[in-house]
Symmetry: C2
Subunit: 362 residues, 2 copies
């Protein structure tokens, strides 16, 4: 049995446009969403890829929990800053516009920030940070999310998994791309353990008493139980991960006026999610020639990769490296989708009258 | 026996000025260093307080490893950015000037960044981030440091403990101040365990084979062994802490042209340390009225503190809270110094002809 099926990128984006158009999304917006989703599958982050077309986005659009028109409004703007109201539309569309604005501003004033409120899930954080690389800039992309993570000494989820992403260009090596949730693991990872009947490593999650548990059934989205922030227990300095999650919430939520903590909605809730995002672009040659910067990144990558390995290990990895390797392969051989994701898309496509009948590769 | 002795802040700063002047530091620079060091003691971070006057700074100045004049040079400058060469002088002086410049620029252009190369240890990261609060700005302060931390799957220290600090103003509550090393613990914590003959929690450090160890003797500054990045083992996602340490090194080192990774010098080395710093200031009212922002921070603090506690816990803390509480107390009752630190200062002061004869409080 085939676990994955490969498709042409253009075909998947075309399908996304057709699918979303049927749900009222303008084609140009759907194209952005398609590109963000497909790019996730290309980079091997299938949890954030086309699987979300019918789950997160499909269901929220069908239920009219999101505004398909994404009526973005510029709330305020200066030479170096922009605040957008995402109009409870597609997070990708608002995020794309925000990062584009950021880059345009940074071209002129070297450093710029965009914040977005009233938004929804925006897909992979890295997509927007990566946009900066084409302009010899460092890109930063943060978002808050629905509460799944307990603060240290708490026993309920109050914080989102609030990812931190930074992309910086190298010279000959892959760019540096850190894209990490500030929880130890995402909730999906817990579900995988539950499905396999495996015990959780101690430190990933807590039960409804706030005790660290190895039982994946006790760590549920929406409770009982919660994920732990990066670090895990207090003895392992989980309060640092908690502090980082809060840092992200402050920059995404408090600065933009979006929801924070428990006020960020869950996908299944009819209320507005009011997700907040934060983007930044830094023009490198305001500090040093881009080539010098890139060469120093190359040197750092080499130094790390050539440094002595722990017993039994052969490689030291650099953040983003594995995703670039997967992307190189997938751009050549086609975008891999899990068979069950394809089936789900087919089923949901049929329901709304947009059959998924594109040809797989090979 | 008294463990701590309390002094007046002004007296300690005056002494620092006298001490450093004797070692060739201009009085105005020594005043900055004194304020940064004493503020650390006031905030309860005694590892970064006046203990360093005779150890780190005293020894590097006496050995002429640092330039006491801190000949800072503006390498390049735009409306929103500034790059300083710290002239291998006192990190505090360069950092203070950089953050001051950042704030001045952000007053005009809302967002600004300062980077510093050829610097030295700058004390507590929070000092500079906190400077932004007086101007209704968010402050960010990062620095790289000598290599003490192994990358995931490595077995030697390649990265610094590279702290991340962000300060954001609240309305009525304490400001949010996250100031965290990106390693699980600092090397000093390992030394405390060694002194007490205690075993390390698993995940704090590795031995010279790269295996996680509970033996503090196997985790030494300069090796063998190394600290682990936040998260610890790979199963606990230590690679995220590793990614954050590298993020800090990129912004502090690669962007400024300072040393990175193994090229950042150790305090005992005669070579230039070439430490790099990164600062940022964000003017909040470019996005929202400062009061609205502050009120949302207050609300977040309350929500977190009032959320249900884990079994056996009574409080959920907010980053920075404990330090503000300590500072409130110490500003009233005097700056606490460990008796052994006072003795060390007396001894070193006598050596260079600057007797420490100030009166303790009470």
């Amino acid at each position: 049995m085939v676990d994955i099926i490969r498709f042409r990128k253009e075909d998947l984006i075309s399908y996304t446009i057709a699918f979303m158009s049927k749900l009222g999304v303008p084609a140009s917006d759907a194209k952005i969403v398609g590109d963000v989703l497909v790019e996730a599958d290309i980079r091997g982050i299938d949890s954030h890829g086309l699987i979300r077309l019918t789950t997160y986005y499909g269901s929220r659009l069908r239920n009219k929990y999101m505004n398909p028109k994404t009526p973005i409004r510029v709330v305020s703007e200066t030479d170096s800053t922009i605040l957008l109201d995402g109009g409870n539309g597609l997070g990708q569309v608002a995020a794309y516009m925000a990062m584009e604005g950021c880059i345009e501003k940074a071209k002129k004033v070297n450093v710029s920030i965009a914040a977005v409120n009233h938004s929804n899930h925006y897909g992979i954080a890295a997509y927007y940070a990566l946009m900066a690389l084409d302009y010899d800039m460092i890109g930063i992309s943060l978002t808050n999310s629905q509460s799944l993570v307990a603060p240290t000494y708490g026993r309920t989820a109050v914080l989102g998994t609030n990812p931190i992403c930074l992309a910086a260009p190298a010279y000959k090596k892959y760019p540096y791309v850190l894209d990490m949730a500030t929880s130890v693991v995402p909730i999906g990872r817990i579900k995988v353990y539950e499905k396999k009947g495996q015990k959780l490593p101690l430190g990933w999650g807590i039960d409804d008493e706030g005790n660290i548990t190895d039982d994946p059934k006790k760590v549920k989205s929406g409770g009982p139980g919660a994920l732990l922030p990066l670090g895990g227990s207090d003895i392992m300095r989980g309060y640092k991960g908690y502090g980082l999650a809060l840092l992200v919430d402050i920059l995404c939520g408090a600065l933009s006026g979006a929801g924070t903590l428990l006020d960020v909605g869950f996908p299944h809730e009819s209320k507005e999610s009011n997700v907040g995002h934060f983007f930044m672009a830094i023009k490198i040659d305001a500090f040093r020639p881009v080539v010098d910067f890139g060469k120093q990144i190359d040197y750092m990558v080499e130094t790390l990769k050539n440094s002595p390995k722990a017993a039994g290990q052969e490689h030291i990895y650099i953040a983003g490296e594995k995703e670039f390797e997967k992307a190189d392969y997938n751009r050549k051989h086609g975008v891999p989708l899990l068979t069950k994701v394809v089936e789900e898309i087919k089923e949901n496509g049929k329901k709304i009258g947009v059959p998924f009948d594109i040809e797989p590769i090979g």
